[in-house]
């Protein structure tokens, strides 16, 4: 990956970490301490089904992205890494 692309990906990761902590009320979680490849559900951040649909809305509001297919969504939302890459590949400014 080019330096420019990696830099943009890192920006997306950092933005996502802050968004997730704020929007999902992850009390006591420091965005800076979330790993770049943190698994989002069950282990890792321990998110649940309600968080999943909230993330779908976050993607719409903040990146103009629309996940319509549940099965596709499960793969995209697997980890911070898969989510960040999806945004980078598909967002208007990605």
């Amino acid at each position: 990956m080019s330096d420019d692309k990696e830099k943009k990906l890192q920006e997306i990761r950092e933005k996502l970490k802050v968004l997730l902590v704020e929007s999902l009320s992850l009390e006591g979680v420091d965005p800076k301490k979330i790993k770049d490849d943190e698994v989002l559900f069950n282990e890792g951040l321990g998110l649940d089904s309600l968080d999943a649909v909230e993330i779908v809305v976050l993607l719409q509001r903040n990146f103009g992205l629309n996940i319509k297919d549940i099965n596709e969504g499960m793969k995209i939302l697997y980890s911070l890494e898969t989510l960040s890459k999806y945004i980078q590949e598909n967002a208007d400014n990605g």
Binding site: D48, S49, L50, V53, V56, V57, I70
Partner: protein, 388 residues
């Protein structure tokens, strides 16, 4: 044993303006869903609207109007055409929408101009469902508006039964009413559980619920009270179970522990075995989770040959009205002797493994159950018994 008798039933939904019309829709399989006309929206999801009720000028009256249509029908059947004055009567009704100030225009005006449209507030504050209905039918006993999401109507019936048994009132108007509105449509859609096509409860390809509106009401009293008025009751409510999953705000417990316990509670209360139950009028919203969990429990409690159906294919999910409407349908099914097909079902889901009733079917036993699984994790079950 002085059973709780149902002496009047009233219902209004997209399937019909009264119980007779609704039963005709069940027989014909007619499903009256369309794009909403009672509110403006850019969303394109089918809803089950009560077209026989014109859109009122004043927002907020629709739920009360729907409730009064069903209540008038029920009171007339029970022989209370002139109301309930002097009868020690209570009113317990479930709703969701009517209890919230979900007025987008109101909020928009407040946000932009910092002014409060007081006529809307006056209507809201004076429009508590059970209190308003109590005044209109001259009921002088207890009243309560239950706001328990999808089990509100069933829980309202359960409370009314408790009131009568503990002597707080002799007669009760109980059930639920809710109007269609854009706010719950947007909200449920954001949860990913609204279908953009006609709902298909229990079907392999189900995509979620369709919203609906309506009202379903029962007139309840002790059997001795009814017979004292010269009425021979045809159906009784002989059990009410209410159990919390204590699991999650929006998802049902994956093993359906609350529903299982609610079903076992009503069977115990009614001194009935699972085999004696003719059918279950299931909650059957057509969401992936609800239908999977609910049928898992039905199989566990009643066996793989359980007869069940959902009427939400004819009415949509009427939220606070659902428990009341479905109680009305269950009681009247026992009365008329047949159960409707589960509209929308085409193909069995392997994960579920069983199919609902697919054709109009005669009832050969005298007990039936209606279930309601609420957003928030409450599970309600009502047991009905046909008279000998």
């Amino acid at each position: 044993m002085d059973r709780i008798a149902i002496t009047g039933i009233g219902a209004v939904s997209a399937a019909g303006g009264n119980l007779k019309e609704i039963l005709r829709s069940f027989e014909s399989g007619k499903r009256n869903a369309a794009s909403p006309s009672v509110f403006k929206t850019s969303l394109t999801y089918p809803v089950f609207e009560v077209l026989s009720m014109p859109c009122p000028e004043q927002k907020g009256d629709r739920t009360i109007s729907l409730a009064m249509v069903a209540i008038k029908e029920a009171l007339s059947q029970a022989g209370f055409i002139d109301g309930l004055k002097g009868r020690n009567a209570g009113v317990c009704l479930g709703t969701t929408v009517a209890s919230q100030l979900n007025d987008i225009d109101f909020y928009r005006v407040f946000k932009n101009k910092q002014t409060v449209q007081m006529e809307k507030i006056e209507r809201f504050v004076k429009g508590n469902l059970a209190e308003t209905v109590s005044r209109r039918v001259n009921a002088e006993g207890p009243s309560a508006t239950v706001v328990n999401a999808c089990s509100s109507g069933a829980d309202a019936i359960g409370i009314a039964i408790s009131w009568i048994k503990s002597g707080l009132c002799d007669i009760a108007v109980a059930g639920g009413a809710d109007e269609l509105e854009s706010v719950p449509l947007c909200g449920f859609r954001s949860l990913g559980i609204v279908s953009d096509i006609l709902c298909a409860p229990f079907d392999r390809n189900r995509k979620g619920l369709n919203l609906g509106e309506g009202a379903g009401v029962l007139i309840l009293e002790r059997e001795s009270n009814a017979r004292g008025r010269g009425i021979a009751p045809k159906v009784f409510v002989t059990g009410y179970g209410s159990v919390s999953d204590a699991y999650h705000l929006t998802a049902p417990h994956p093993e359906g522990i609350g529903l299982e316990l609610a079903l076992k509670t009503v069977l115990k209360q009614g001194k009935v075995t699972a085999k004696e139950v003719a059918f279950i009028n299931a909650h059957g919203t057509a969401t992936l989770d609800n239908d999977k969990v609910e049928t898992k429990v039905l199989k566990k409690v009643f066996g793989d040959n359980v007869k069940f159906f959902s009427t939400k294919g004819y009415t949509g999910h009427t939220l606070g009205a659902a428990g009341g409407l479905e109680a009305a349908f269950t009681a009247s099914a026992l009365d008329v002797g047949w159960m409707p097909s589960s509209a929308g079902f085409v193909e069995i889901d392997e994960e579920i493994g069983i199919a609902p009733i697919m054709v109009k079917t005669q009832i050969d036993k005298k007990f039936a159950i209606s279930t309601s699984l609420a957003f928030g994790g409450n599970n309600a079950a009502l047991l009905f018994e046909r008279a000998e």
